[in-house]
């Protein structure tokens, strides 16, 4: 009786299993299939050999992604710590304020950065009022990185904060009692203990930064093509699905490798709660 009812309750997962085969697994098989065929459907390595042309774009995407991730980490770590030291009520309000911008369309927010950064934009006209010459900011590498940091910073703050909020405070005190100065306490005690949050923050910022395609077009003015831009163009402008698929395949493998490397640092539970 009990084994039969447990079989029945296993069966309620079957609609989802069918769904995930049809719409998660099958689409990925199509990415592989399109990567190794031409427009007529014949097998070819052409799309893969054509990739060497895009090596500089891949390298730039990875480099920008690393830069954005490091900057996010540097900004987020102290803020997460500051938030975790507040009273519960203040913590909740500050967390809400960190998450709130994410509910706004990232397209509009990125567009609004254009208005801020333009040569005749808001920041430069404010600078002009206090007698500083305009600084050229839009369409530079810095502007693209800024766009990434801006859009993905909450993804770094949240996981680090949620680990720090649960941190055992007596451990920190023990560390201080053992004679650690402020810096040692942070380096030998707080950083190692918040490592799981740091690692998931890094993946949550790195993956979207490497694969973004809108930010670079708007804030980089088209001169800093990233791999996401190239993929987007294959699907929405030149309709070369096969090349687009092979580019995506490489991007996916690249990210899987970097995630595997990151996961070596922590033995994370695969079924952990989201944030």
């Amino acid at each position: 009786m009990s084994s039969r009812s447990s079989l029945k309750s296993k069966l309620v997962a079957s609609p989802y299993l069918v769904w995930s085969v049809l719409f998660i697994v099958a689409p990925l098989i199509f990415v592989v299939y399109y990567s190794f065929t031409d427009a007529s459907g014949a097998f070819t390595f052409e799309n893969i050999t054509a990739l060497s042309k895009y090596a500089p774009t891949f390298l730039r995407s990875i480099w920008f992604g690393i830069e954005a991730t490091i900057i996010c980490l540097i900004i987020a770590f102290p803020l997460a710590y500051i938030i975790s030291q507040k009273t519960e009520k203040v913590q909740r309000t500050m967390v809400m304020l960190v998450m709130l911008p994410m509910w706004m369309s990232f397209l509009i927010r990125t567009y609004s950065w254009m208005a801020l950064l333009q040569d005749t934009g808001i920041i430069n006209s404010l600078l002009g009022k206090i007698g500083i010459d305009p600084i050229h900011m839009i369409n530079t590498e810095g502007a693209v990185i800024l766009g990434m940091v801006y859009n993905f910073l909450p993804y770094m703050i949240m996981p680090i904060y949620s680990v720090m909020a649960k941190l055992d405070h007596s451990m920190v005190e023990a560390c201080q009692d053992l004679g650690g100065n402020r810096l040692t306490v942070v380096r030998r005690c707080i950083i190692p203990m918040s490592m799981p949050g740091i690692v998931s923050g890094i993946t949550m910022v790195f993956v979207p930064s490497v694969s973004t395609f809108y930010i670079s077009q708007k804030l980089g003015g088209g001169s800093f093509d990233l791999i996401g831009d190239v993929i987007e163009r294959q699907f929405q402008q030149s309709y070369n699905y096969n090349l687009g698929a092979s580019l995506s395949l490489v991007l996916m493998v690249l990210i899987l490798i970097s995630m595997a490397v990151m996961n070596r640092f922590t033995g994370e539970d695969e079924e952990g709660m989201v944030i």
Partner: protein
């Protein structure tokens, strides 16, 4: 040290809110410029009320978010209940690995992979305009599912298994036992998952961009095609309205939460 941390917090929040403040400010601009403020007016709010295409896409976005999060919640909760019964082993880890794919894969890859599937099937049945509401709904349900499952699973693990058995011993049918005993105890996880799914669907641009057709536009897609040229400030006005309504909702939620906490403390 205290002052340093206050200044630091202020600067980070200034950074996070600068573009939103700009957006709100310029929604009240009297000209259509988004960089020079020339005077206060409500012109763009009036223009928004008359902009049928934008309102239509807002309506589409909400319909899509409601239907996709509802489907994902039912499908995902059932999935979690089933997966919870799976024994630890290769099958369970395999299912969990597949479940994690839409969360860990870059959104652009999820988007194009589904587009390839839809286009391929569309060619098989020789229909050109296969992309539309249906394909977007499938895509949204797919990327919403892991968030529901991963919020419900931990709640199921916390639920005492003996409870359902006790209910059955007392004469409940398994289905009734589930709805009367298990469901209430996993409800918080289901609701969190549903809210997450709803907001993700509301805000999604990248996956929608690759799976939508000309017949069904959502707000993020309308904004995208607008930002290719110039954004009219009525879009700023709409964003300002959305921002303020979310802010109000969050504040109300916060107040409700701290009130219920005070109550439990008193007890």
């Amino acid at each position: 040290m205290k002052i340093v941390s206050k200044v630091y917090t202020f600067l980070v929040f200034l950074f996070l809110y600068a573009p939103i403040l700009v957006m709100i400010l310029f929604s009240f601009n009297s000209t259509s410029s988004t960089s020079v403020f020339s005077g206060f007016s409500l012109e763009w709010y009036k223009a928004l009320a008359e902009d049928e295409a934008t309102l239509r896409s807002l309506y589409n976005t909400i319909i899509l978010a409601i239907s996709s999060s509802a489907i994902a919640t039912v499908l995902g909760t059932a999935a979690a209940v089933g997966i919870d019964k799976f024994k630890k082993g290769p099958v369970r880890s395999g299912v969990m690995a597949v479940t994690n794919i839409p969360m860990t894969n870059p959104e652009i890859v999820t988007g194009i992979s589904m587009m390839l599937l839809f286009v391929f099937v569309g060619r098989l049945v020789s229909r050109d305009a296969v992309l539309g509401f249906g394909t977007m709904l499938i895509a949204h349900v797919t990327f919403n599912l892991p968030y529901v499952i991963l919020n419900v699973l931990p709640k199921l693990r916390q639920t005492d298994r003996n409870l359902a058995e006790a209910a059955q011993d007392l004469g409940c049918k398994p289905v009734t036992a589930f709805f009367k005993v298990v469901l209430p105890s996993i409800m918080p996880g289901i609701i969190t998952g549903m809210i997450m799914a709803f907001t993700l669907s509301l805000d999604d641009f990248i996956i929608s961009y690759f799976t939508s057709g000309p017949g069904f536009q959502t707000l993020p897609i309308a904004i995208f095609s607008m930002t290719k040229k110039r954004v009219k400030p009525d879009m700023y006005a709409l964003s300002a309205i959305i921002f303020v309504s979310i802010l109000v909702l969050l504040i109300l939620y916060n107040i409700a939460q701290s009130k219920s906490e005070e109550k439990t403390k008193k007890k």
